[in-house]
């Protein structure tokens, strides 16, 4: 089998490539050039940088496999970065990694896999694919602290049939051990934390530069509309945020709503953040159809635990009712449905429901 391995220059995809090779497959390494500065060069800081491509190239050379850099700058800008900005401008908290997986990595690159003469696409994601009798299943990673199944929820049967995630069976520590044992230069490389196109600066600085409207000054009000202060742009706020409000009132206050059109930030008390449910659109199910049992667990943020909830189809959308009220559920984030270790599917949170 010929495997196209998406190599980011990190330790996970380095080991993924090495494992495929070890299993006797032919390997072709690629790095996606997704973002560039005004001069057309790759960024020097962040995750898809010249240095990372160089690490990927060096690992590929060490493994003695062909390696190429593929230009996905146009797709990435229109499908991921512009959407990220627009979504923020709508007062949402988007997850660009999910959009990237949906439109670039597991769509454009997956289609390209066969055009490049390969049979499967391999990535260094921490998640597992099971080939069961009734089809493919997507499972959480063995290493719960590194599980990335949340950003892979959009994968369906067709995609899973053509994808391999070899390191989902290993803990991060094991991945690093393997990398060290093989002498891979990326063995000790720190995990990337930032959004790849943002670099060392935080994403708020990025948004201010790329989407100046997000930096419009506005009012901070309470949920009765009383003005409590002003701010320098809705870009600085996320639902559930407590720090950096610049407001001194006795009880802790949180951002409970963002209205970008009027550039207004609404703050409230902890209980104002509680939601009993949410509406989810762009929903897909890994199996191709919704589970028969509506009882699932749902993860509403990348770094949160799945909580019990009930699914119900409402037109083209799905309504999620949490068993107990949840805090800081932000439209734009994904709601991913699980049953135990299995990912059932998910979508993007469109609206939240507060307790009556």
């Amino acid at each position: 089998m010929k495997a196209l391995v998406a190599m980011s220059g990190g330790v996970d995809s380095s080991v993924a490539a090495a494992l495929m090779l070890e299993q006797g497959h032919d390997v072709v390494g690629v790095t996606l050039k997704q973002w560039e500065g005004a001069d057309g060069a790759m960024p020097v800081a962040g995750c898809c940088t010249v240095g990372d491509a160089e690490d990927a190239r060096r690992v590929a050379a060490q493994l003695d496999v062909p390696y190429y850099v593929l230009d996905y700058v146009d797709e990435f800008r229109s499908e991921v970065v512009d959407r990220f900005g627009r979504s923020y401008m709508e007062g949402r908290t988007p997850n660009p990694c999910i959009e990237c997986n949906r439109t670039v990595r597991f769509k454009a690159l997956l289609e390209r896999t066969h055009i490049l003469g390969c049979d499967v696409l391999v990535t260094g994601h921490h998640a597992r694919i099971r080939h069961a009798i009734d089809g493919y299943r997507l499972m959480t990673a063995v290493d719960g602290t590194k599980d990335q199944s949340y950003v892979l929820h959009m994968l369906g049967q067709e995609e899973l049939a053509q994808i391999r995630l070899p390191i989902g069976e290993m803990t991060k520590a094991e991945v690093r051990e393997r990398a060290a044992a093989m002498g891979l230069r990326t063995a000790g490389k720190p995990d990337s934390q930032d959004l790849c196109f943002v670099g060392h600066g935080d994403y708020r600085t990025f948004l201010r530069e790329q989407f100046p409207d997000s930096a419009r000054a506005g009012r901070i009000v309470d949920n009765e509309g009383h003005e409590l202060g002003t701010h320098r742009g809705t870009v600085d706020f996320t639902i559930g945020q407590r720090k950096g409000l610049g407001i001194a009132v006795g009880e802790p206050r949180y951002v409970i709503d963002i209205e970008p059109r009027t550039s207004t930030v609404v703050i409230g008390k902890r209980r104002d953040l509680e939601v009993v449910g949410c509406d989810v659109d762009q929903v897909s199910f890994v199996a191709g159809s919704a589970p028969a049992e509506p009882e699932v667990t749902v993860k509403v943020r990348y770094r949160s635990r799945p909580v019990p909830a009930r699914l119900e189809a409402v037109g083209s959308r799905w309504r999620v009712d949490f068993a107990t009220p949840q805090l800081a559920v932000a439209p734009g984030q994904a709601a991913v449905f699980y049953r135990g270790e299995e990912v059932l599917g998910g979508g993007i949170i469109d609206a939240t429901h507060r307790a009556a």
Binding site: T31, K33, G40, A41, M42, V50, P66, D71, I115, L116
Partner: protein
Amino acid sequence: MLYLDHAATTVVRPEVREAMAPYLDQHYGNPSGVHRVSQRAKNAIEEARERAAALLGAARPLEVVFTGGGTESDNLAVAGVALAPGRRRGVVTTTTEHEAVLETARFLQRLGCPVAFVGVDRLGRLEPEDVGAAITADTSVVSVMAANNETGVVHPVARIARTVRAADPDVLVHTDAVQAFLAEDVTVADTGADLISLAAHKLGGPKGVGLLYVRDGVELEPVLHGGGQELGRRSGTHNVAGIVGMVAAMEASVADRPAFRARVGGARDAFEVRLGELIEGIERNAPVSARLPQHAHVRIPGVEAETLLIRLDQAGIAAAAGSACQSGAIEMSHVLKAMGMTETEAAGCVRFSFGWVNQPADGPRAAEMVADVVELLR
């Protein structure tokens, strides 16, 4: 592996390797010293200079300045003249020059020098009158490449030089002949140029060494400052083995030139003919009447060069497209853009370049292999 990227760089000739070897471990001296070890090295580069000058038809050996390669030669020629004391500061060049000239021109522009870029037609051809018309009272140097490194189009440098001199005899003419030297007659008389850039590695010589012919009397502001080697025009310890290798490669190229045109041109022509039979809609991107015999720069509609190059590599054929950025991704070629191609058209262009090692029979064989890959992608 069928290597069809000889325009990027090519195989070092055996006689070059042999000529260089003694200067790595036997005559390893620094030519700038006093003792006998240095004297041998010094003698080697001066002999090389004489031989290079003879090949170029230079009036004096010291018109040859050894450099660290084609890029450095271009920098020294363009910036060296435009920044020379007492000279005018203006530069006239073309939109399809190598980046070594283009970026030097832009650098000078940032320093306040007036710079003009002359455009080309759809096949990359340059009109000598357009170059003449771009000359102003500020113009100090005109830089026009002898042949384009991507498409292989050959420019009428001698005619351009005459046009320039007719417009203003004080304007100097530089030509980057890095790509042309292998197949074209490049001498001072043939080009009419005051400055000529060459690089060794395109000729079957080593990488990292080049030369600049500088007509006697032309003053240059140095680009590299230091110990004052090369009469102060290029500081830095001489790359003795490289210089010896460069001249050996030049001599071999000049001796092989007529045969190269027949042999390698034959391979390229047969390649194109067979490719035309096998791939529908394929187009040449350079004029048949004025191009290097080793270049086949083609557009294959419906195929993306990025994908094609990877599939060709898998099939054992090395080819090129555009220029690779620092990351290794292919970028839109400024040459094709200057020729008026859209981004989509340019993305379907690939350069196959043959080299001194190729035989006519390599052409049809390569065409079959390329066509098989294109077939897969269409």
